[in-house]
């Protein structure tokens, strides 16, 4: 198949999947089969395109001209390829996990849930493939609206309020800042195409560049740069699979991907360095990075802690983009898959703990490691990746980010990165330590797990204490935990892909 048609397939399959899921709502097994088939086929399409991109081919496709000289167009380059791989690849374990979680919980409205999920992946892939800012913006907003029903899934007052914060933040930033930035770029340059070396050089200068960069950086509200980060913790009322895929992978990465893409292909890193326009963004990102880590330390709700950790990790990527050096951009791009794999593991674990024990608070999780050894083992591995220790993938992205800071002659940010790593040890390790080394406060082994899990009280020894979440939950989280290790060894491949990126 030609790369263009593969690209269209990769886009249309999730859309068709969403339709299929809504049509098969009456037969849950068929519906779930549709979801799984869609995830697998979408991922294989993305893999199919990968070989063309690796061969150095630029895949371009123009769909329809919306405004004069402004088409909806797709243009696949290494950065987008990377994001597409992450979004479509991690959709597979999440779909499996989601089925296990939703069934384990006996949730309502599962059809809507899976249909919106597929729609969100459609939007994420559209963002990854976007060939100009208009297309990116279109899919960016589609992603916001398609995930709203997921965030407010429970339909109660809490969900409704969280939905308001979610939509309020994302729509406000995208309309007031991002759209303004897009229109201004169009007005100044007469094009919105992503071009190597950027399109703004020679068209804008002075403080205008810094202002425009600010509009883009804060406009991509999904990147959760402070002070527009509140939506992320608020969105944690969603069912955990949503938090896992969308708030660790698709949505937040759409934000930082936008920032990265704009820095590389709209501003151009040389132009940014020359203008010195991104200096303030480095400090803004560093501030978010550290303060979110500190806030994470104070949170006792597991998902809230992970949410603030995500905010902090996203700021790494913004920082890498703002450094505007080759190593910085590489590190930022690498951090997309590395953080995604690590954080999705952590969210899966949080969800598995909730399914098995209905516990959300970290203080209640003493001694839970004995009961759920696989889950907590995976949690340990994921945490190590987030902290950035080898042999987990997270080590590499931090390495490149630190190199980027050195390249930009900004040693202070190396210090910031290291400090943040220490803070992440502080907010992640106690969870693992308490799970394995503390005794459970309530002596009774079985909590309010109900029919979701099976208990085997009569068996003695190691297996006797084990009372895990359903297999459909545990297997994906073990897989992604192994994935973080695999990513450590896969770095030459990602580096090779990113080296194809034309920065200048």
């Amino acid at each position: 198949m030609s790369p263009e048609s593969l690209l269209l397939w990769a886009l249309c399959l999730p859309l068709a999947g969403a339709l299929g899921v809504s049509l098969c709502g009456r037969w849950p097994n068929v519906r779930e089969a549709v979801t799984i088939i869609t995830t697998l086929s979408t991922f294989s399409c993305v893999l199919g395109i990968l070989q063309f991109v690796l061969a150095g081919q630029v895949v371009e496709l123009e769909v329809v001209e919306v405004l004069a000289g402004l088409p909806i167009a797709f243009r696949l380059e290494p950065l987008g390829m990377l994001y597409a791989l992450v979004a479509s690849g991690l959709w597979i374990p999440t779909a499996v996990y989601g089925i296990g979680y939703m069934r384990g919980h006996g949730e309502q409205n599962q059809t809507r849930f899976f249909a919106c999920f597929a729609l969100a992946i459609f939007a994420a892939l559209g963002i990854a493939f976007a060939g100009n800012l208009l297309t990116l913006f279109l899919f960016y907003e589609l992603l916001t609206f398609s995930t709203y029903p997921l965030v407010t899934h429970y339909g109660n007052d809490e969900a409704r309020k969280a939905g308001r914060v979610y939509l309020g933040n994302l729509i406000f930033t995208s309309v007031a800042f991002l759209l303004l930035a897009v229109v201004t770029t169009w007005w100044m340059t007469g094009t919105l195409d992503f071009r190597p070396g950027g399109i703004l050089a020679g068209k804008a200068e002075g403080p205008m560049v810094a202002v425009l960069l600010g509009l883009f950086a804060f406009g991509a509200g999904k990147a959760a740069l402070m002070p527009f980060h509140r939506w992320l913790p608020a969105a944690m009322v969603a069912p955990t699979p949503v938090s896992a895929l969308l708030h660790a992978v698709a949505i937040v990465k759409a934000g930082v991907f936008t920032v990265l893409k704009v820095v590389v292909y709209i501003f151009g890193i040389d132009f940014l360095t020359e203008q010195g326009a991104s200096l303030w963004l480095m400090y803004a990102a560093a501030f978010t990075l550290l303060s979110a880590s500190v806030i994470a330390l104070t949170k006792t709700n597991l998902k809230a802690r992970l949410a603030y950790s995500t905010i902090s990790q996203l700021a790494y990527i913004v920082l890498g983009a703002a450094l505007a050096t080759t190593a910085g951009v590489t590190g930022a791009a690498l951090h997309i898959p590395m953080h995604a794999m690590g954080k999705i593991t952590l969210f899966f674990c949080a969800g598995a703990i909730y399914v098995a024990t209905h516990k959300k608070d970290i203080r209640e999780m003493d001694g839970i490691g004995r009961r759920m050894p696989f889950t907590m083992g995976a949690f340990l591995v994921g945490s190590l990746s987030i902290i950035g220790l080898p042999p987990m993938g997270g080590a590499w992205s931090k390495w490149f980010l630190a190199m980027g800071a050195a390249e930009a002659h900004m040693p202070i940010f190396i210090g910031v990165l290291m400090l943040s790593s220490l803070l992440s040890i502080g907010y992640l390790m106690p969870i693992v330590a308490r799970a394995f080394f503390c005794k459970a406060a309530d002596a009774e082994p079985e909590a309010a797990s109900g029919d979701a899990t099976e208990s085997h009280p009569e068996k003695p020894g190691f297996w006797g204490a084990v009372n895990e979440a359903p297999a459909l939950c545990v297997i994906p989280l073990c897989a992604t935990a192994l994935g973080t290790v695999a990513l450590f060894f896969c770095v030459p491949f990602f580096k090779g892909l990113l080296d194809l990126m034309v920065l200048r």
Binding site: V66, L67, I72, F145, G155, V175, A176, L179, V183
Partner: protein
């Protein structure tokens, strides 16, 4: 025959109205009005196509040559308007909700349809004619028929709403007439093109200035420019929902056309904007309308009133495009005219569907209807997204042009204000979404029949289509903008 088309499009609905009285049977009358509307749509499309290929079409009524006789003159702008008006009519008239929410006595429906046709004829007349006095005549035909239509609302408040509209409408009409009189007194002509030729030498005259002021105020009342909008919310709220759909989508658009025609064709942009600096008056009013209208919409408890206040805000956007007086700005204003007609028409029809099932148009009426009436509620959501200006919907296209137009003029603050005010739309649209999908159902209802949801979805679907494929809408609007500015392509 075909050279008479530009007259026929007005004459047909005008003559078809009395025929309703002969047909009498509701079903036959409904079919007849629909057929007339469709025929007008076909004529409008033919005319638009002809204008785009062959340039301006002029038609001397009764064979009397202008400027003595009445001239019908179609350029890219009014041909475009004709298509909007007839398209809305041909969707709304056959719709199943056309009689919903009315207080017609048994067996009197034919009068209602006659009024609808008269209103259509008036709107088409204002749009096609090139003669100022003829404009006034058609303005009165439109107004009188719409007073009738509004007073047919179900509640007794409809009568007071119609009456206050009558008072305001008459004042507006009188202002127009006085303005026309002043111009005639000085120039001795009523033909717009002839006026445009004679006026430049006379522009210093106080009579002309006073005439211009009267025309502007009269037109602004008809258009409901902030702060002359007071009649609009009541009229739209208490009129039958389908009438609101038709009038909201067409009447203000035609008034907008009239203002644009007077400013750009009769007086010329140089006089109005360079000498009189009208934009420094209109622009603050437009911005105030954008914010006041949207903010007022947030606090409404009635769906129709909410949409009416939103209309005031949208009229603000269109007026803003008008005062940019550039090709981009005018294109934005005119394309918003088209897009807003689609979305507001669709939204009012959706409200009519709600009224049809629940008997009420309060916001609480749609509580929990997301499951009961999924098609209607989805229409409200999509129409609302288009009002916000989400990309992929028609509303985005018009906002895009307006923002670019503001940047081109160097009005940076205005471009930010356009975006900020559209954020207020998020609030009132999201109130509806939350009520429909999170609320507890108050009524045991089912989805409306296809005759009702299909017209709604034709308009709402069109907002989606024209959010992506803009050749027709933007192409037509920019041709119209060029025609207004006198730029030859």
């Amino acid at each position: 025959m075909s050279e008479h088309l530009s007259a026929l499009i007005v004459v047909l609905p005008l003559l078809a109205a009395p025929v309703c009285l002969l047909l009498r049977q509701t079903r036959m009358v409904r079919a007849w009005t629909s057929i007339v509307a469709w025929a007008c749509l076909c004529m409008a499309l033919t005319l638009l196509e002809r204008v785009h290929t062959g340039g301006v079409i002029t038609y001397a009524m009764g064979g009397w040559d202008p400027p003595l006789g009445i001239e019908y003159r179609l350029d890219a702008l009014n041909a475009y308007l004709l298509v909007i008006v007839t398209a809305i009519a041909s969707v709304v008239f056959p719709s199943g909700v056309i009689l919903t929410d009315t207080s017609l006595p048994e067996g009197k429906a034919h009068l209602y349809f006659a009024a609808l046709l008269l209103c259509l004829a008036g709107l088409l007349g204002i749009t096609s004619t090139g003669d100022l006095f003829n404009v006034f005549v058609f303005v009165e035909i439109t107004s009188l028929s719409s007073y009738t239509l509004i007073s047919l609302g179900k509640n007794r408040q409809a009568l007071t709403a119609a009456f206050s509209y009558l008072v305001m409408g008459t004042i507006g009409g009188t202002f127009l007439l006085v303005g026309i009189g002043f111009l005639y007194q000085v120039t001795g002509t009523l033909n717009m093109n002839d006026l445009a030729l004679r006026l430049p030498e006379l522009l210093g005259s106080r009579t002309i200035l006073a005439g211009f002021a009267f025309l502007m105020v009269g037109g602004s009342i008809k258009l409901a420019v902030f702060p002359l909008h007071q009649w609009l919310p009541n009229a739209y709220t208490h009129a039958p929902a389908a009438v609101s759909a038709f009038i909201a989508a067409t009447a203000t658009k035609v008034s907008y056309y009239l203002l644009a025609r007077i400013i750009f064709t009769v007086f010329g942009a140089a006089f109005v904007f360079d000498a009189l600096h009208l934009h420094w008056l209109l622009m603050p009013l437009a911005i105030a309308a954008m914010f006041a209208g949207s903010l007022a919409a947030v606090f409404q408890t009635d769906l129709k009133r909410l949409l009416a206040y939103s209309s005031i805000a949208q009229i603000g956007y269109m007026t803003l495009g008008l005062c940019m007086a550039s090709e981009t700005g005018l294109t934005g204003g005119i394309v918003h005219l088209f897009n807003h007609a689609l979305m507001k028409g669709g939204l009012f029809l959706a409200v009519a569907c709600v009224v049809m099932r629940t008997g009420s148009s309060s916001v609480n009426a749609i509580s929990g209807l997301g499951r009961k009436m999924p098609l209607t509620m989805a229409a409200i959501v999509v129409g609302g997204l288009s009002l916000i200006g989400v990309p992929g919907t028609a509303g985005f296209i018009s906002k895009w042009y307006l923002v670019v137009g503001a940047l081109e003029r160097g009005w940076y603050a205005v471009s930010v204000l356009i975006l900020l005010s559209s954020l207020i739309a998020v609030v009132y649209v999201w109130r509806l979404v939350e009520t429909a999908f999170f609320g507890v159902p108050e009524h045991e209802v089912c989805e409306v029949p296809w005759t009702s949801w299909l017209p709604t979805w034709i308009l709402i679907g069109a907002t989606l289509v024209f959010g992506i494929w803009t050749d027709v809408t933007v192409g037509g609007a920019s041709a119209a903008a060029r025609a207004l500015l006198g730029v030859t392509p």
